[in-house]
């Protein structure tokens, strides 16, 4: 090969020499023991030495201490055993500088002339690679740390969730206990209220009788005694009915299905429902003609209807109307296919309980049958009312559907399977007692008729002229037509949108100077706290006796 051949612009030998000296990697030729015979310029430059200064030194002397040890104990043996080693990461020691990371390849060769073995060593500058490796290692370490932290966090989280759930369950249990107590309290309060009214009637009747018996009773007094006896008897009967309803309500036993005429059952239940609803909610019942019989446990059905009524009442804090409607219905295949629980298509007795209350949104409506779900404030509801309804209806082979519109009201439809069989029993509801007139000018406003009669009777017996009204509107009418009323004696809580306080305000506006005496048997609502009565306003609690009323009325009139 001539020097002008295309193989070498500067001459082939010169090109190779240039390559050996100046290629961007270190070249070493060493004897088998690693003693350097020749080093290239690139390596010498890295080490800031002259190439000839490196000759005679051992390769391992160029390395940092770890490299030296590992070269002697691992890589030199490796080279001996397999004739080469590849890509060994070592560090070149540089006096006064950080070591230079290199990748080292070595291979055993034999000299062309004498066949003597020697070693070729190639070194690549691996600074970048080492940095990447370090970053990669750091990233891996960080990732492992993060994973470990995440795992620890997960474990902590699980433990915390379990703890929270346990706490939550404990709290719910406590709330449930409170709710039970609240329910018992509400029931007790309601019962006490009703019994107060009835006892007022009964005691009043008995008192009247005893007073008439002081002297020799003439025919007129005997007649009065007879009326008082009738009144007391009626009150006692009402009390007995109430007690029976309470016992039925309280019954907790397996379903005892009987043929039931839902319409009649509702009629019989109206008394209890009215009491449950309170005086601001009007009860309306509509019974469809030719209603089918159904076979359910009547006590549980009553229970369900009372529960629905309670919910309806609570949805109508400002008063409203509850409608109980019965009719015959047919659930077709399309309808039953569309509902989640298995309900056979066929004939059903439908009871619809509708209120004019606040209603609820779709999300709430979907959950109302869940046990313990309640929209009421803590302590106000058990969350079990509607779930009892659902459970009972499902157990009876029926179906419940709830419709609700926020701001309009809620309608719950119970579908009970039709049965064919003998007719059930009925419940008799007795008419209210009659009213009498008298001589002084007191307007008695009381929606409870017996009470009003009793109170009016007492006042008439005391010589007053008594006018009566069953509600606020009626009272206003009386006030309009009679301009000599001295005392307004009114119940506080009354139906039809006008309560005792509003009535009194209106009466005072129309007839300044008129005296006002309130009465109430309703303690649960804490009337005074609600601000319906000003401090100092005259109030007589139910039940009241003849004497108590006489004294109070006198005192108010004289004030």
């Amino acid at each position: 090969m001539s020097e002008s051949s295309p193989g070498g612009i500067g001459g082939a030998a010169a090109d190779l020499e240039d390559l050996f000296e100046n290629a961007p990697c270190g070249y070493l030729i060493a004897d088998p023991s690693g003693r350097i015979l020749r080093a290239n310029g690139a390596l010498a430059t890295w080490l800031e030495r002259k190439p000839e200064d490196l000759v005679g030194r051992r390769f391992s002397d160029l390395l940092n201490i770890a490299g030296k040890i590992y070269y002697e104990t691992h890589f030199a043996p490796l080279l001996k055993m397999q004739g080469f080693f590849n890509e060994v990461a070592l560090d070149l020691a540089r006096p006064g500088q950080a070591p230079l990371p290199v990748l080292v390849n070595a291979v055993e060769r034999r000299a062309a002339e004498d066949g003597q073995p020697f070693i070729r060593i190639t070194l690549f500058n691996a600074s970048d690679r080492r940095r990447y490796e370090r970053e990669l290692l750091e990233a891996r370490r960080a990732a492992e740390d993060a994973a470990a932290q995440l795992q620890a966090l997960n474990q902590t989280l699980e433990a915390r969730v379990a703890e929270e759930v346990a706490e939550r369950m404990q709290a719910e249990e406590a709330v449930r206990q409170l709710q039970k107590l609240e329910a018992v309290g509400q029931l007790t309060g309601g019962v006490a209220h009703d019994f107060n009214n009835l006892l007022t009637v009964i005691l009043g009747g008995l008192e009247t009788i005893s007073r008439q018996l002081d002297a020799d009773p003439g025919p007129e007094k005997l007649q009065r005694i007879a009326r008082a006896v009738a009144m007391a008897t009626h009150g006692a009967q009402r009390a007995a009915t109430l007690t029976a309803r309470l016992l039925a309500f309280a019954r907790r036993q397996p379903l005892d299905p009987k043929p039931v005429d839902a319409g009649r059952l509702i009629t019989g239940l109206a008394d209890l429902l009215e009491r449950t609803l309170g005086e601001t909610v009007t009860l309306e019942t509509v019974s469809g003609a030719g209603l089918w019989m159904t076979s359910v446990d009547p006590a549980e059905l009553e229970n369900a209807l009372v529960n629905l009524a309670v919910n309806a009442r609570d949805a109508m804090p400002g008063g409203g109307r509850l409608t109980l409607e019965t009719s015959n219905a047919y659930l077709d295949e399309a309808y039953v296919d569309d509902i989640p629980e298995p309900v056979p298509a066929g004939q059903y007795v439908q009871i619809t309980v509708s209120d004019t209350g606040t209603g609820m949104d779709a999300e709430t409506a979907q959950r109302v049958f869940e046990p313990f779900f309640t929209t009421k404030a803590v302590g106000k509801g058990t969350g079990l009312g509607l779930s009892q309804v659902y459970g009972f209806v499902r157990q009876s082979g029926g179906h419940v559907r709830l419709y609700s519109e926020p701001g309009v009201g809620t309608s719950v439809k119970l579908y009970l399977p039709r049965m064919t069989g003998p007719v059930g029993e009925t419940v008799q509801v007795k008419p209210e007692a009659p009213v009498h007139g008298g001589s002084e000018t007191i307007l008695v406003v009381e929606d409870h008729e017996d009470l009003r009669t009793y109170a009016a009777g007492v006042l008439r017996e005391l010589g007053y002229r008594v006018l009566e009204a069953g509600d606020g509107r009626g009272a206003l009418a009386v006030l309009q037509s009679q301009n000599d009323i001295d005392l307004l004696f009114t119940d506080v809580v009354m139906p039809a949108g006008l309560d005792g306080r509003q009535l009194a305000d209106e009466a005072l506006r129309r007839r300044p100077g008129i005296k006002v005496l309130y009465t109430t048997g309703y303690t649960r609502n804490a009337i005074v706290h609600n601000g319906r009565l000003d401090p100092g306003v005259q109030l007589i609690g139910k039940p009241f006796t003849f004497q108590e009323l006489a004294r109070k009325v006198r005192a108010v009139l004289d004030a």
Partner: protein
């Protein structure tokens, strides 16, 4: 798994007397591949890997036990007993020279001759005692720090499964320097156990016939160390070899064989 299996034992040779070849810090029993055949005629040659090295059972590696050379010495005793070795020759390279000495102290009946190739009872200088080990404390500290950095290029050179070349598995074996397989973590611990060892106290009263093979220019165990050993061990013979470096068994197998043969 028996102690024999755990140590990847290979036995060759027809001779009556056992010769146990122990590799040192670095690689595995392959270190003896040029020397062992020379003794197969006269000896029952036993080659093995220290636990943690080469083909040994890595699961048997107990960091606590092998943090000291005694742990390896216990293995040698157990292994020799299991193989029925009596009055054998123990040839220990590098750190295994001291391991062999410790083993013989525990069970003198096993070996009547000890060959130490590049031995060192302590690698770190002890100026107070006027002892030259070849390394300063700072250098060994630097070594251990470097190993702790555990950078990949380093371990990649020796780790058992580096190149996961699914297409050409035979390539992976060849390229990963299969003669020198070492688990990086174990290699680190082995380096610490080796280079922080000090067995000078174990030399006193050691009566077994001992051959010390000292290479020229051995950075790991310099000539002063060989001379120290020869001085302290009363029944020892020191041979200064022409071979350079730390591994005459590889770089100068013939000279090594001659020296051992002359001794035994």
């Amino acid at each position: 798994m028996t102690v024999i299996d755990q140590h990847n034992v290979h036995i060759s040779g027809a001779g009556p007397r056992p010769m146990m070849l122990a590799h040192g810090f670095g690689c595995d029993q392959n270190m003896w591949r040029f020397v062992a055949p020379a003794f197969e005629e006269d000896f029952r040659v036993i080659q093995f890997d220290l636990i943690g090295a080469g083909g040994s059972d890595l699961s048997a590696y107990d960091p606590e036990k092998y943090s000291r050379l005694e742990g390896y010495a216990e293995d040698v005793v157990e292994l020799a007993e299991a193989l029925g070795v009596r009055d054998g020759v123990f040839v220990g390279h590098s750190v295994s020279a001291m391991i062999g000495l410790l083993a013989i102290r525990k069970a003198p009946h096993l070996f009547s001759d000890l060959v130490m190739v590049g031995p060192s009872p302590r690698y770190i200088d002890d100026e107070a005692a006027g002892y030259v080990g070849g390394f300063s404390a700072a250098q060994i500290e630097e070594l251990l720090d470097f190993l702790d950095q555990n950078h990949m290029g380093w371990s990649q050179a020796m780790a058992p499964t580096i190149m996961d070349n699914a297409d050409r598995p035979e390539l992976a074996e060849e390229l990963t320097n299969s003669f020198c397989r070492t688990d990086p973590d174990i290699a680190k611990r082995f380096a610490r156990a080796t280079f922080t060892s000090d067995n000078r106290a174990d030399l006193a009263g050691f009566e077994t016939r001992t051959l010390i093979l000292q290479c020229a220019e051995d950075v790991i165990a310099p000539q002063a160390v060989g001379q120290y050993l020869h001085r302290v061990l009363p029944n020892s013979e020191l041979v200064l070899m022409e071979a350079t470096g730390h591994c005459p068994n590889l770089s100068a197998p013939d000279e090594t064989i001659r020296a051992i043969r002359a001794f035994v």
